[in-house]
Amino acid sequence: MPQTNIRMDVRAIDPIISIIDIQGDVSAAAEQVLTDAYAQANAPTTRVIILNFNGLAYMNSSGIGLLVTLLVRVKRQKQHLLAYGLSEHYRHIFEITRLSDAILLYGSEQDVLAAARAL
């Protein structure tokens, strides 16, 4: 089994916005943790899910695949997926993979919350 070096905490900012704080590695091993975190964040009133990558240590293509899966679920719930805290390298990867087109990236929590409330 893949080793898990991941932790995700969910913060409900308000009934509409939830933030998932990611600590560690986003790889195939993070699948269940991410699923659980989204389940926790996904309240009936939740309209925006925000991923906090400030604690991201490592992300690989499997992790990108998990984000795509999460994105599919979020879209089904008519929700929005936003992110912030990505390093330059992973921003580059988000751009390469065009994930940045589907997950809007912001530099700080303040910026992303402002954008979320404006949706």
Partner: protein, 741 residues
């Protein structure tokens, strides 16, 4: 046709008994014999009477009569020795009574007669009364069972062990022996249905093989008339019958078992064996005693035939059992012989196939050879020249087994000898053809395709001696590398045209033998050239053409396919040039090499290792991050898709550097079954989000985007991902190349 193995025994005589007719000539002979004997007896009697002048001379008359009628056949003293006193007493009494009655009748009817009239009357009474005497004698014989005493003993001894005898040869010999003992034939032969092996081993003069039509009239007669058949009496339209008559066979016994004629016992003329009493008996039964002109011309008595009938009824099943045992033993031996021959042929074949495959930079050569159960004579060879050129030969010898393997070995040696003197494929084939034509067995020949390759530039010179031309694969196209010529060994002096071509990077040749294209499936369809060509054209990017074609062949033939012929495949591929192959290759040097176990998560370990190794190279922070992620992705790919998370398999990492580039190679170990890695192109995010594609599948795409050049090298056993990062910090743009080795 029904084939019989015939085992015969013939008495050791200077000449065989005369063939005699059974009807009128026998009676004529009998009468002549009797009359002559009577005449001689009468003359002697008259002479004795004149000399002695005594009436007691008449006493001698019956004695003389018996002596001359019996001729050279003395009484069988063995009979007397083996008989009981009572039997001897009765026999003597009967003789005395016979003598007395004859004498009394003579005296009563012609008391005063003298001379020739007296003699004639005496002889007449003797003849008239002999059947009566013989009749009573036969009663005595039957009562004491004298005649068959020895025969019955022999038969009893034979039949008592009959059930234990399962050796056909032994049984047959013992049967012939007992027949000789009880029947005393001049010749006796036993015909038993022959196996194929017995038919092939029919060179023994005592064990000939005779084939007769299965619908021969005599066979039908034998089935419908069990028991002895007297050959001379039969009138059938039967070639077998005519043959038996020509062989002087008198009695034929069909040996039948379960409604099938499994053999035939043929007896020739009977030899006399001093059975005097027997002869007398026979006179009473079949009336032949007086007609037997010679001791070796007796007929068989009814008792003989009855005994034989009984014997045959017991022997036939025993023969059948022994025959089945022998057939089984022969089959076992034949199987062992064939297996040994197959092993020998395969050993010869394999001994002459190359042990190693030449390693040529920029080229990938892969052979495959799998012999059929019965080796078919396929071969291939690699001939390495001092100037770096490579000769590649593939061929097929007609025929199978050891002969084909031996010819293959001969051709192999001739080819290797010829290339010492010349390199030109046409000249080599011509030389081998001339040498081979003088030595190859009639009806055999060898097909052969010879290619001479200059690996530096991909130029090919080739000639063909009747072999299937190789297929040349270029992208999505497959065409034959056409050349024609007579097979080797067919016609001395044949010239072979030489052709020239060039293989570009990425192109390949597939050499093959007819075992592939002539394979049949359960529906009797042939794999065929068109199928092979279409498969090659439609699957240019497979990692291994050999594995791919073998998988296709397996799918085509289905489970349980018995390989009909050797299957030989050789691929010659000019691989695409990777970074290591280009002009900068000489400037690259290996910085570090390491391995990681195929455990998920170790890609991060590789990533850190990469960072450490790359530190002296002074890559920018961004480019180093890109390279680290690319290496991580490549290692993860190797762990998952190459080594399938087998923790005992390693992923090999190499970092090479030149003044202008850093090259990282990541190679898995594979399992020989892995699918090739291809450039997947750009993932379609919309399709993934819409659920039309899996969410995964980003790895190679990421690598391609993160490094300056990407090469994917698929070979027979592993995948190598080669990533190039330029040190000037300039990404020259996307460059990806996939190649199969």
């Amino acid at each position: 046709m029904v084939t019989f193995q015939v085992v015969s025994r013939t008495a050791q005589l200077t000449a065989p008994p005369k063939k005699r007719s059974r009807r009128f000539p026998r009676k004529l002979f009998l009468v002549t014999h009797v009359v002559t004997s009577m005449g001689i007896s009468a003359l002697l009697f008259v002479a004795i009477l004149n000399i002695t002048r005594s009436d007691y001379a008449f006493i001698l008359l019956p004695v003389l009569l018996s002596v001359f009628i019996n001729g050279s056949r003395p009484y069988n003293l063995d009979i007397f020795r083996s008989s009981t006193p009572l039997y001897l007493l009765l026999t003597v009494c009967l003789g005395v009574i016979y003598y007395s009655v004859v004498t009394e009748f003579v005296l009563l009817t012609h008391p005063a007669s003298v001379g020739i009239i007296y003699v004639t009357v005496a002889l007449a009474w003797a003849i008239i009364l002999e059947p009566v005497r013989a009749y009573f004698q036969s009663i005595i014989e039957r009562r004491f069972n004298v005649r068959n005493r020895e025969a019955i003993k022999a038969v009893a001894a034979f039949t008592s062990t009959l059930r234990e005898e399962i050796d056909l040869d032994q049984l047959r010999e013992r049967f012939l022996t007992v027949i000789q003992q009880i029947m005393h034939p001049y010749s006796v032969s036993i015909w038993v249905r022959a196996t194929v092996q017995q038919q092939e081993q029919s060179d023994s003069p005592e064990r000939s093989v005779i084939a007769i039509a299965s619908d021969d009239a005599l066979i039908a007669y034998a089935l419908s008339h069990p028991g002895a058949a007297e050959i001379d009496r039969l009138q059938l339209d039967s070639p077998l019958l005519q043959d038996l008559k020509a062989r002087a066979v008198e009695i034929a016994f069909p040996l039948t078992s379960q409604g099938e004629v499994i053999g035939l016992l043929a007896l020739g003329p009977r030899l006399d064996s001093n059975h005097g009493v027997f002869r007398l008996l026979r006179y009473g039964v079949i009336g032949l005693l007086l007609l037997g002109p010679a001791l070796n011309e007796e007929e068989y008595a009814y008792e003989d035939l009855a005994l034989l009938n009984s014997l045959a009824a017991q022997v036939a099943p025993a023969l059948r059992v022994a025959q089945m045992v022998q057939e089984e033993q022969q089959q076992v031996r034949e199987r062992e012989r064939i297996e040994q021959e197959l092993r020998t042929a395969q050993a010869i074949q394999l001994a002459f196939l190359p042990k190693d495959v030449p390693v040529l930079p920029g080229w990938q050569i892969a052979p495959y050879y799998h012999p059929a159960r019965e080796v078919g004579g396929d071969f291939y060879d690699f001939l390495v020249f001092a100037d770096g050129r490579l000769g590649l030969v593939i061929g097929d010898v007609t025929g199978k087994g050891i002969p084909a393997a031996l010819v293959m070995a001969t051709v192999h040696t001739m080819l290797r000898t010829a290339v010492l003197e010349m390199a030109s494929p046409g000249a080599v084939l011509a030389r081998v053809n001339d040498l081979l034509s003088a030595e190859i067995p009639t009806g055999m020949f060898v097909t052969c395709f010879y290619v001479l390759l200059d690996p530096k530039n991909g130029r090919l010179w080739y000639a063909n001696a009747g072999h299937e031309p190789p297929f040349r694969q270029r992208g999505g196209n497959a065409s034959e590398l056409w050349a024609t010529g007579m097979p080797l060994g067919m016609m001395p002096g044949t010239r072979y045209d030489e052709y020239e071509a060039a293989l570009a990077p990425g192109e390949s040749l597939l050499f093959y033998s007819d075992g592939l294209v002539e394979a049949h499936n359960a529906q009797h369809e042939m794999f065929g050239f068109p199928r092979l060509q279409a498969l090659l054209a439609g699957n240019a990017n497979v990692a291994s053409h050999i594995d791919f074609l073998l998988a296709e062949l397996k799918d085509f033939t289905g489970a349980g396919w018995e390989q009909e012929d050797d299957v030989t495949l050789v691929t010659l591929q000019r691989i695409l040039e990777s970074y290591r192959m280009n002009e900068q290759q000489e400037k690259l040097h290996l910085l570090r090499e390491s391995t990681v176990a195929s455990v998920s998560g170790n890609e991060q370990q590789a990533m850190e290792w990469m960072a450490e190794v790359a530190r002296p190279l002074h890559l920018s922070h961004e480019r180093l991050d890109d390279l680290k992620t690319a290496v991580s992705e490549a290692v993860m790919n190797a762990i998952e898709h190459g080594n399938h998370y087998a923790s005992d398999k390693e992923v090999v990492l190499q970092v090479l550097a030149s003044d202008t580039a850093v090259v990282v190679r990541v190679r898995d170990q594979g399992d020989g079954k892995q699918r090739p890695i291809f450039d997947p192109g750009t993932p379609d995010l919309e399709a993934k989000l819409a659920g039309r594609e899996a969410s995964r599948g980003w790895g190679l795409f990421l690598i391609k985007k993160l490094v300056d050049e990407l090469y994917i090298i698929n070979d027979e056993h592993s995948h190598t991902i080669e990533m190039v990062m330029h040190r000037d910090g300039v990404n020259t743009g996307e460059h990806t190349s996939t190649q199969e080795e």
